[in-house]
Symmetry: C2
Subunit: 211 residues, 2 copies
């Protein structure tokens, strides 16, 4: 056996399926990748998620008290890695990564429209544990893509994605390492280019000022 | 999208790799399957695990304040399912399932000798959340099987096992449903038969009384 420093032993635990957490403060929507989460209680249905206070989403969740957990499939690994390696403080991830959302049913946070599963969560408690904040939340509404669900559980073909650490994701028994751009200059240029393409579709429209 | 009752939405979250938790109160060792666990903090290295107060291990952990998390590979799925569907109150799982252990390095709990990873954990806090107790524990020592580890992360060939609920386990992109005996009469008979076989190896020995 190879001994591992306790500080790096999280790589033995990794997480359940990695998820994209979405939250919203008025017009500002943000998404981040989370894998430090666990189901906690059956009745009431509670789960816990550990989030660093340095995350942009941390303060939004503290203020608004709700979030959505979106379950990605293998096709969404690049999106997971992009939202997981950038911060909403510097860029608007919704615009840069072209994320499409729909309204949540029971929460202010938005749902990622191509997720294969969603859990709408209301924070019931939170506390600082070590260097993270552990949010305990009640699941108010949950739904799955019928094609990814069989006999009350995820199906083999659902393409669940597990995070191993670094840029390694495990899906279908294979490790996938997405190649994505994460430097902010490139991302901001991409954001402006996409915006310009959208404006070109409506060439009669008065372009709103660039941000 | 198919809506799911919040009380059953844990099946969307399931867990990280399912683990076998071992604990010990003097000569009595017990093991249970856990998948409601999450890493929580980097520094100090903390994780959390949610355990029902009805579990035999619950009170042992409360009293002794430590446990070991053992990471199984695909070959150990029957063992995971067996220790996960029986209670240590009725049978001695170590005997019935022929589990081999070695001493922990830093804790009283024992380590499962054929696990591909171990995390020795000391409870730092616990609290009742919903219908479960959430134990927060510091990782004191961690180790992995070198053949299952590559470049600081689990390797593709490690054969990590994820729990989907019911009798469904996901490994290598396939769902496995172990066929194991879980009725107590059969298990106790198996326990006595295995014991007799052991005694037959030492036919000069005075047999200790059957329990």
């Amino acid at each position: 056996m190879l001994s591992i420093e306790p500080e790096k032993a999280n790589r033995l635990v990794n997480g359940g399926p990695v998820m994209i957490l979405s939250c919203r403060r008025e017009a500002r929507v943000n998404m981040m990748a989370v894998s430090w989460l666990s189901w906690i209680s059956t009745c009431p249905p509670l789960l816990g998620v550990s989030i660093s206070p340095s995350c942009f989403s941390h303060d939004i969740i503290r203020e608004t008290g709700d979030f959505v957990l979106n379950v990605p499939d293998a096709e969404m690994i690049p999106t997971v890695h992009q939202v997981g390696t950038t911060t909403g403080r510097t860029i608007d991830k919704m615009r840069v990564f072209d994320l499409v959302t729909v309204w949540g049913r029971t929460v202010k946070a938005l749902t990622l429209s191509y997720a294969i599963g969603v859990l709408e969560c209301q924070v019931t408690d939170f506390r600082k544990i070590g260097d993270h904040t552990f949010f305990i939340a009640k699941v108010l509404y949950a739904a799955v893509d019928e094609t990814a669900w069989e006999d009350g559980h995820w199906s083999e073909s659902a393409g669940l994605v597990y995070y191993l650490g670094g840029d390694k994701y495990l899906t279908g028994g294979r490790i996938v390492r997405p190649k994505v751009k994460t430097d902010y200059l490139t991302l901001r240029q991409a954001m402006h280019q996409r915006r310009q393409e959208t404006l070109d579709l409506f060439d009669d429209a008065v372009p709103p000022p660039l941000t």
